[in-house]
Point group: C2
Chain length 406, copies 2
């Protein structure tokens, strides 16, 4: 008699963004003529750049002819892409990451969800609070989270690291010692960052306690200030304690293209000397069949000089939105942070409203969709995430609506 | 202190096809001027069809303009593709599968590896022997396989269903009762099929014992004979006991494009009434971010009238290879089966050679690469898999080499 996975049955409600989609759909049905502006989900709106389109077109054409047709891709990714990543994303920042430590995937969400699988079920997990829900949910699905406490909205076996206003929304080193630490900088959802010196403390902490850091650097292209590390491997000793996850979604607009990668250094070994790189390679080879060839060519195009110029332009476009939101909302009397090294603005809800109360209020009065902070964890209550991924026009219009909410 | 997943450490050796790749690479290095013909891995060689290329080009062009740009895809797949699948793959065979029971993915390998995750760890698994290694390996990684016995090459907690010559390489109903039954027809690696009447017995057996069948129908397009079911849902009662996995790799040549889908009917519930469809939807929404937009448009093109005509031509091309191999090898004195409703030919190794002995012999003497049957399980020992996915020219040349092996 087959049985469902009992750990799956522990999951709470459904995924945050599905809930938002349902609420928005219901509102649209009731108000079909009201134009809604979406600054909720972190999806990009600008088209793919010229270099990327040209690479896609060329790769599609290759697939039309037997002489240039490519079938199964290498499990771990094509060398042309892994070498470009090694050279540009790491080499240019003075970091040495070998192509065979780089694993190409269909996106950072898959990787950040699947990476926990190579670790033992009894590993204790620490997450920022608020946090990208995938880190927590996938550990619940793996049976690592313990019991859910409805009152506090927390799991008994997860260590929460609150990211509060008094620490500029950056987490503090936990007092309980975790085995796996999820960090994301620039942070989703708060938009906070840490300096290289601060990140070094996390690396030292992890090495001291033989913990592993899962470092989600999906938003590194949005860093504008100096002394903010783009990769955790800029810190000394990070290779013995860190896995880094990267995305093409936010720098190159690949949310619908689907491409990402994960770095697992050869030096990363558990206490018994097991190579985590080899385990991840085994997972890739067994449960994945490589990212598509044409997508990998599109990824390669991002690393050409012209491609790099184009993604800087794309990021600047969105960062201008971030500036407009941050300054516009501040001028309108709201309290907000983020948006300087990040496409996310973290807004304190006005008048003591809960996050979902403000969601409903903003949808009803301003017809603007954002993301309730409490959806990211208990310390997100009373906050609200806005994204800079809209068009300039919509972003401006949304700010005007914020100004005239009452 | 972080620890590696101990279940991963139980895995034996490395993946079959990686081993073959290593042996071939070593041979090529030693004999750089010897042209090798590959009939080993089941990768296609013919280019994508015109309709598919046109759809890819159009979708790429859409991604170049803000008005038509598409970002994140729906977790479960675009309606346009799910509706086409529902209408053509099922509706035309008189089977009613709703679009919301169809989950678009990046390929059948991912799905067949991940599907076990929605079931309890204590479910007992049954597999054909020989079998596609992914079914077994992913259950080892999940801790369901028990202990490995080096002598027999089997796992203590897995039920093996031998597929032997006396039963035309089809499995018999197991005497031990499993919770999860993996079936693949047309079979990889033996090329065997079952009639609708025979498959109905499996469905009845599963319903009787409340087991679930994971039905891998990746090769259904290769069925040429009547009375061979293309979908398990052609059998009465299959919706309460079956999940079906489909691929675009072998019918439309998408091995490098990456697209597949899985059907989980709403009627499929465990003993406590848990909807397995809802669990799979939750997994998709949490650990996956949708198949790429342009790939889904390519998939849609396969279902147009012209697209259907083109895939029939592609399949015919490979099936002509299958006929040549089957007839050529039989004429040359070999014993083989398969290749009638399947792109695989299952060859009995000559002179009592083991599968790997024959692999080495064939590579050394004929410079042809095939797949050792023992790599698929203990009952594959003494057999060898050849694929029909080469070009006509290479296939003819390989047959000639077989004829002059001595």
């Amino acid at each position: 008699m087959f049985k469902a996975n009992p750990d799956y049955l522990q999951l709470r409600g459904s995924y945050l963004f599905s809930n938002i989609a349902k609420k928005v759909a219901a509102y649209k049905e009731a108000h079909p003529d009201t134009p809604i502006i979406r600054l909720g989900i972190g999806d990009v709106t600008q088209p793919l750049s010229k270099s990327v389109i040209a690479a896609l077109q060329k790769a599609v054409e290759e697939q039309a002819h037997a002489e240039t047709f490519r079938g199964y891709t290498p499990d771990l990714g094509y060398d042309f892409l892994r070498e470009a990543i090694s050279r540009v994303d790491f080499g240019r920042r003075g970091v040495s990451i070998s192509p065979d430590e780089i694993f190409i995937s269909d996106g950072a969400k898959s990787d950040s969800g699947n990476i926990q699988e190579i670790f033992s079920k009894d590993c204790r997990v620490a997450v920022c609070d608020p946090v990208y829900p995938v880190y927590v949910d996938t550990n619940v699905m793996a049976g690592r989270a313990g019991e859910y406490d409805e009152k506090t909205g927390t799991w008994s076996n997860i260590i929460y690291m609150p990211c509060l206003a008094e620490n500029d929304f950056a987490p503090q080193l936990p007092t309980e010692i975790p085995d796996i630490i999820y960090l994301c900088f620039p942070n989703n959802p708060t938009g906070a960052t840490v300096s290289k010196e601060q990140l070094q403390k996390w690396v030292d902490f992890a090495n001291e306690h033989k913990a592993v850091i899962i470092y989600d650097a999906a938003y590194e292209a949005y860093i504008t200030e100096d002394d903010i590390p783009h990769s955790i491997y800029e810190c000394d000793g990070a290779k013995t304690c860190s896995i880094e996850i990267r995305s093409f979604s936010k720098n190159a607009g690949f949310t619908g293209v689907r491409l990402g990668y994960t770095v697992v250094p050869k030096e990363l070994k558990d206490a018994s000397g097991v190579s985590m790189r080899d385990l991840w390679a085994r997972r890739h080879g067994t449960k994945f069949n490589g990212a598509p060839y044409i997508q990998q060519r599109a990824g390669e195009a991002v690393y050409s000089d012209q491609g790099q110029k184009e993604i800087r332009e794309l990021v600047s476009y969105y960062m201008e939105n971030a500036r407009m939101i941050r300054e516009g909302l501040t001028a309108a009397g709201f309290t907000c942070s983020g948006g300087v090294n990040s496409p996310y603005i973290w807004l304190k809800t006005p008048d003591g409203m809960t996050s979902w109360e403000f969601f409903d209020y903003l949808l009803e009065k301003g017809h603007v969709v954002g993301t309730p902070g409490s959806g990211f964890g208990p310390s997100g209550e009373g906050y609200f995430r806005l994204t800079a991924f809209g068009s300039h026009e919509n972003t401006k219009a949304a700010i005007e609506r914020f100004k005239h909410l009452n």
